[in-house]
Symmetry: C2
């Protein structure tokens, strides 16, 4: 037993991070025998093991003095150069290697946004629902939240406009608008082109920074490609967060940021005391993976599998869910978002679901204000098609009792 | 050109991190043709490439669903279990896997100390000189610094005692004492056993947290082993930061923290929004490396080489430096610390040194208050013995002009 009481020493920041009920429930849902539609992980059966190992072999055999050594804080130059090409392919103009910084997963990118932009009490705007661990990071740095609802066409930019006006009247200048515009987590929807353009215009008019988090954009299996906000950005207002977790593998812990050079310089300075540099070994292997042009062909394999699984889930929902449950038809990404009638309490229902051998993530986890108790996020990447159908069937039985 | 002025949006925190003169000089010193004694990197010729590749092959071939997937935030269990064994071997009692958290290098461990323990304006105590990037991290989180001088027997604990008394009288409760007690960076010295015991006693009497940073302790090539502060800790007052960077390779970006379970739990919660988890691929390979018992035999190879290089540097200093320059004789670690007479300005001399084809790190970089202008840190791990001798010879010529 410690005689010392660490609680007395913790910062206000540290005292805000508490063990969340959601993580406890997630643990409950990951017990053996339960079909979990809860996680947000890519299918490990689709990791490009052979191709990646080829690259790992090469960097350990031929450049161990680089791959095992400290690397530049901003990131391995050949990797950043490959990412310039990816940016150009995506339609982002005027980007060179100095516009790119390598992060230890895009979660670290989010953490840098907090460190760089949130002083205690600063206002940030997010979508509602939105990515849980982004809210957690902003909250740790003691932001105040304003939220914008999401409908079938993404965040409602008209409401954002009203919100910005209202904040201006109150003399509040928000630090940024954080958005996942493509295959949104958790809602699965994408912001329409019209709204994207309007958002960029609004940002210009209101001197607003946009943080665009795009982990799923490359996982489109149907419908037309939409330009990223970064590709529409004419004033360097978009800080663009990207990751290899969903298109290569999360275990390498690599993401990247595309932004104005002054932003990259500032993050570079902060990264020195945060973790010095991201892993040289996975950076070098990933640079090689991109150089050999392994990314895009293998991505087709992943998309084909996810498209199938998404369709299996969609059909199972049609067959087994009561018609009162509203869901989207995913054009890409990893999730279907289910909205039940208000009277359904997805939190209260969770333990019953686990008893019936199926788990999901409580939608309320994704609302900064804790609302959304009647919503659920359903993941289709981690389970087999058979399990997806069976999981949805089990959940459907329960939902029919509740609506 | 960005029309947006990011400066207006940066946090107080972000505005504190400025590009440092030292890093610019370090860049200057790393030009081709210059013998740099400036860096703090391990010798890449000593990376255990073949052994580590064996382990990497294994984890990619046999457990890709683990090594390429997201891992537990607290760290890969088999790795933490190996680190329990290392802790026990080191004489640390009562440690199990829940006392250990894996970090993305020990720099991340330092960053967590800042996040967890430093509210704006909090007082922290460090050695002077001390590790540059720790000061940078504490400063980013807006700590106030109190410093304790370091002599041949490590930090002067009597002065720490006086300092604690003085702070108490002022009603200031310091958040922690940060120390690198073994082969200190940059001073190269180790805290005596007597002082270690006294420090633990002082911590108990003054309700003080000790952060023990020990990246070099395993690199002892002569003299008697000293117990870590953590091994002497009876009240869970020591938070112990460790790293694989100097004993295996920095490119894998892995460190670990040994601490009270309540501290590990809190850091675990903060790590979720910081980077979710450290690289699963290097964690899995490193667990395998430890399991196969590759660490200790290979460490002998590293120590033998560094012992030789340290001796070459010591002898060259004896031969070429003017006698007014005081240096320590290293028993381990990576550095010799040189203290010139006050009138020598190592900052002003740096460009002349580069012109003569040799570089070092300005000692002033390691003083939180910017003093120590007449000191230099000399690294002996990165250069060949021939270059070490030649570098010291060149520096000696210059120093003889200055003293």
């Amino acid at each position: 037993m410690a005689l010392l009481n660490y609680e007395d020493f913790f910062t206000e920041r540290a005292n805000r991070v508490k063990s969340s009920v959601i993580r406890e429930l997630l643990r409950l849902g990951s017990q053996p025998g339960i079909i979990s539609l809860g996680g947000g992980m890519p299918d490990p059966a689709l990791f490009p093991v052979k191709l990646f190992k080829e690259c790992m072999d090469m960097v350990l055999e031929e450049i161990p003095h680089i791959s095992l050594q400290y690397g530049e804080t901003v990131g391995y130059k050949p990797l950043r150069e490959e990412l310039v090409k990816i940016s150009e392919k995506e339609g982002i103009k005027g980007v060179d290697a100095d516009n790119i910084l390598i992060t230890s997963g895009s979660q670290q990118g989010i953490d840098f946004m907090s460190k760089m932009l949130i002083d205690k009490g600063d206002t940030v705007i997010t979508e509602a629902p939105t990515y849980l661990s982004a809210v957690q990071s902003f909250d740790t740095f003691m932001a105040k939240f304003e939220t914008i609802p999401v409908d079938d066409h993404g965040a409602d930019i008209d409401i954002l406009e009203q919100k910005l006006k209202m904040l201006k009247e109150k003399g509040i200048k928000p630090k940024f608008f954080y958005t996942v515009p493509t295959f949104q987590n958790p809602a699965g929807v994408s912001m329409s082109l019209e709204r994207r353009k309007k958002l960029i215009q609004l940002a210009i008019e209101n001197d607003l920074i946009i943080i665009e988090d795009n982990p799923y954009g490359d996982l489109r299996f149907t419908g037309e490609n939409l330009p990223s906000l970064k590709a529409l950005d004419t004033e360097d207002r978009v800080i663009y967060l990207r990751t290899f977790s969903k298109i290569l593998a999360p275990g390498i812990r690599l993401g990247w940021i595309v932004a104005a050079k002054e932003v990259i310089s500032k993050i570079n300075l902060m990264k020195q005391s945060t973790d010095l540099c991201s892993p040289a070994i996975t950076q070098a292997a990933t640079a090689e993976y991109l150089k050999r042009d392994y990314l895009w062909p293998h991505l087709e394999v992943i998309k084909k599998s996810y498209a199938h699984k998404a369709e299996v889930m969609r059909k199972a929902i049609q067959d087994y869910f009561p018609s009162e449950i509203k869901t989207n038809t995913p054009e890409g990404g990893m999730f279907i978002w289910a909205v039940a009638p208000e009277k359904v309490d997805a939190t209260a229902m969770f333990r019953e679901a686990v008893d019936k051998g199926v788990a999901y993530i409580l939608g309320s986890a994704f609302y900064p204000d804790g609302s959304g108790h009647h919503t659920m996020r359903l993941n289709y990447t981690m389970q087999t098609p058979e399990n997806i159908e069976e999981g949805i069937r089990r959940l459907g039985i329960l939902l029919k009792e509740k609506v």
